[in-house]
């Protein structure tokens, strides 16, 4: 049995191509069942996220399966106009087989292959895809084993490396910095100065943290009200800044105009009123909205967009370094799965060899017994004797077949045994048996 994979991701295809292939939740189960019904496809799992569409298949005939996978992409997944023609699809997809396919699935699960290395969502999406395939009956023992090992690999990577430890977006960096200043964020109040897209993105991140209150102050009150309404925040005029500053723990500013909207004198006054309780100020405006000298105040911590981006870039670089360690774990786990696959390949040969030898034993036993006049007890004794002899002779070769872990050597031994005992003549092939657990 082989594992093959056909996929399209953020590296192989631009978004204007990818968006035509994103799997539709409603029609996907039926399409997957159709694919699984093809004789060349034993099992299949479809992974569909914002950045990738991949179909993983367990098959005895990789070439035949490849044709079905191409067909699945171009007929079942593709929709809309200006699609790449059948010949062009290969330009935007990748095809992996055997170890490369296993390695790819492990790398995807461990978020090494993600656009943002180490992002945590992909593992959940992979688990959903696997669960859906199990529910629809398209996932069997081979892919179950593959995905279980992929989840275990992702867990190892998460625990043994720092790939997911550091935030890589400006908003997450700001939240992490706030956590270094404040013990918890759920009793903190945030003030947003401005009502643009950056403020909106920050509100999304801060709302997720469950702050006690969010306030939006803007020159145009109506814009502040419109934005605040969407996030359950209160809207204010810029004239109220001094009062708002007094009970704000986090201040995020991104507003147009020249001159600083907050200077050291204003912040110092607010700090005095709030008895020097610290304020975390984030200035993501260009030109800057907050006088950098505010950072000289004891209880004010000011970060501008460059400070945050420098940390974000550095963290992304750190994640890429950690990905090298993660690749080693993936290689180890890939090796373990390959050993299991080799032992799987030996199962039908072991079963077939047993059947062949037992058939010979029974034929010879019947021929001999027909010439002898033996009692039932004696027949039973002779039969047991022949079984015992056969078992002892077969013990070593069967044990060796079952113990093979090296793929090349393992397959060579299987072929040797099949040739020696002429097992191929009777039709049993590799992969016919049930996989061992």
């Amino acid at each position: 049995m082989k594992i093959v994979l056909l996929g399209m991701n953020h590296r192989s295809a631009p978004v204007e191509i990818r968006e035509h292939f994103a799997a539709e939740e409603m029609t996907l189960p039926e399409a997957v069942q159709d694919l699984a019904a093809e004789p060349e496809v034993s099992e299949c799992v479809v992974i569909s996220t914002c950045n990738r569409v991949e179909v993983v298949v367990a098959t005895r005939e990789p070439e035949g399966a490849r044709a079905h996978l191409d067909d699945f992409f171009s007929r079942k997944l593709a929709r809309g106009e200006s699609l790449p023609g059948p010949g062009k699809l290969a330009d935007y997809t990748y095809f992996h087989a055997d170890e490369a396919a296993v390695s790819h699935v492990f790398r995807v699960a461990s978020a090494i292959d993600s656009m943002v290395v180490g992002e945590p969502q992909i593992l959940g999406q992979l688990k959903d895809a696997y669960r859906s395939s199990v529910e629809h009956g398209s996932c069997g023992p081979i892919l179950s084993r593959l995905f279980q090992r992929a989840f275990a690999t992702a867990k190892r990577v998460k625990n043994e490396t720092q790939i997911a430890q550091r935030p890589v977006s400006v908003a997450r960096v700001a939240v992490e910095l706030a956590r270094q200043i404040f013990e918890g964020l759920n009793d903190k109040k945030a003030l947003m100065i401005g009502a643009g897209e950056m403020i909106e993105a920050a509100l999304v991140a801060l709302q997720r943290e469950g702050l006690e209150s969010l306030r939006v102050a803007n020159r145009t009150r109506s814009r502040a009200e419109a934005l605040a309404g969407r996030f359950g925040a209160s809207a204010h005029d810029l004239d109220e800044l001094d009062e708002l500053l007094v009970d704000s723990d986090i201040v995020l500013s991104c507003i147009g105009g020249t001159g600083y909207s907050l200077d050291p004198r204003r912040v110092a006054k607010a700090l005095k009123t709030r008895r020097n309780q610290p304020i975390f100020l984030i200035d993501i405006g260009v030109p800057r909205n907050i006088d950098p000298r505010v950072n000289d105040l004891d209880s004010a911590y000011l970060y501008d967009i460059d400070d945050l981006q420098e940390i974000a870039y550095s963290n992304a670089e750190e994640r890429r370094r950690e990905a090298v360690e993660a690749e080693k774990i993936v290689a180890e786990e890939q090796e373990r799965l390959a050993s299991w696959m080799v032992s799987l390949a030996a199962v039908p040969t072991i079963r077939h060899l047993r059947e062949r030898v037992d058939t010979v034993r029974q034929q010879e036993l019947e021929r001999s017994l027909s010439k002898l006049a033996l009692s039932d007890t004696q027949v039973e004794g002779v039969s047991a004797l022949t079984r015992s002899i056969v078992n002892k002779i077969l013990h070593h070769p069967l044990a060796r077949l079952g113990a093979q872990t090296d793929r090349e050597e393992g397959l060579a031994v299987v072929e040797e045994v099949r040739a020696l005992f002429a097992l191929d003549d009777s039709g049993a092939r590799e992969g016919d048996g049930d996989p061992p657990e």
Partner: protein, 264 residues
């Protein structure tokens, strides 16, 4: 008793090492193990103190061995208590090794510290003085330690040199809360220690005060903490200033209580 003290010291050291590894490596379980070991060390040290009452005769608690060791025990217990409410397990990385020194070194040989001006006297008052003063010293030690961590974290955040930093220290707010709580409890204990010391002196000599180095330095230390408490709760001192004061205050007080005796 000494065996229990030394066992507790070894456990404290292990707690500190595991906690430090937990801070530096991507393995939070090491930090959790460090905290559990710290609690185990406190338990063993508690058994050590309990075993004192089985000794015959019951030894006098007013010597350096017990004073410093009891201070460390009070510090560890107060830290464990604060950990219920605050994410400050990172402090174990410093408290563990310091508790090891405070428990192990005195266990190598007791040094008398009874020169508070009062002669040795059996009864509750001398022991109350030792226990209250030691507990106060331990708590103010925790305040000082939180202050050191606060200043380091504050410096990092102000300088914005966070790139490549691996140590995950407690938040500034948590450290400030530790500093405040330790001062709120530690300073009254120190005050009660001074009052019981004076009562001890009066019971033995009829005087409430004698001008010995131990008494003078301790009184000045108390004065420093009284000023700090006023600045903190009445004067709107910033958290950074409070942290710096806690560090300086503890260095002075430690010298007043332990250093002066060792220099004699």
């Amino acid at each position: 008793m000494i065996e229990f003290q030394q066992t507790a010291a070894a456990i404290y050291l292990a707690a500190g090492i595991f906690s430090l590894l937990g801070l530096a490596l991507p393995a939070p379980w090491l930090g959790r193990l460090g905290v559990r070991l710290l609690a185990l060390g406190a338990g063993v040290q508690g058994i050590a103190f309990a075993s004192l009452h089985r000794m015959s005769p019951v030894p006098d608690l007013t010597d350096l061995l017990y004073t410093v060791s009891f201070s460390a025990w009070a510090a560890v217990l107060s830290l464990l208590l604060l950990m219920w409410r605050l994410r400050i397990s990172g402090l174990t990385a410093a408290v563990g090794p310091l508790a090891f020194l405070a428990v192990f070194l005195p266990s190598l040989g007791g040094v008398p510290i009874a020169d508070s001006g009062a002669p040795l006297l059996e009864g509750a008052v001398p022991h109350a003085h030792t226990l209250l003063s030691s507990a106060g010293l331990g708590l103010l030690g925790i305040a000082g330690l939180a202050g050191v961590f606060y200043l380091a974290e504050h410096r990092h955040l102000k300088s914005k040199r966070l790139v490549g930093r691996r140590l995950a220290l407690p938040s500034l707010e948590a450290l400030d809360k530790v500093d405040t709580a330790a001062l709120v409890v530690g300073f009254p204990l120190l005050t009660l220690g001074l009052i019981t010391g004076s009562a001890w002196l009066h019971a033995s000599s009829g005087e409430f005060w004698v001008w010995t180095p131990h008494a003078i330095w301790t009184l000045v230390g108390w004065g420093i903490y009284a000023t700090m408490a006023f600045a903190r709760f009445g004067g709107g001192q910033s958290a950074r200033q409070a942290a710096a004061s806690s560090v300086g205050g503890f260095v002075f007080l430690f010298f007043a209580v332990v250093g002066v005796e060792l220099l004699k």
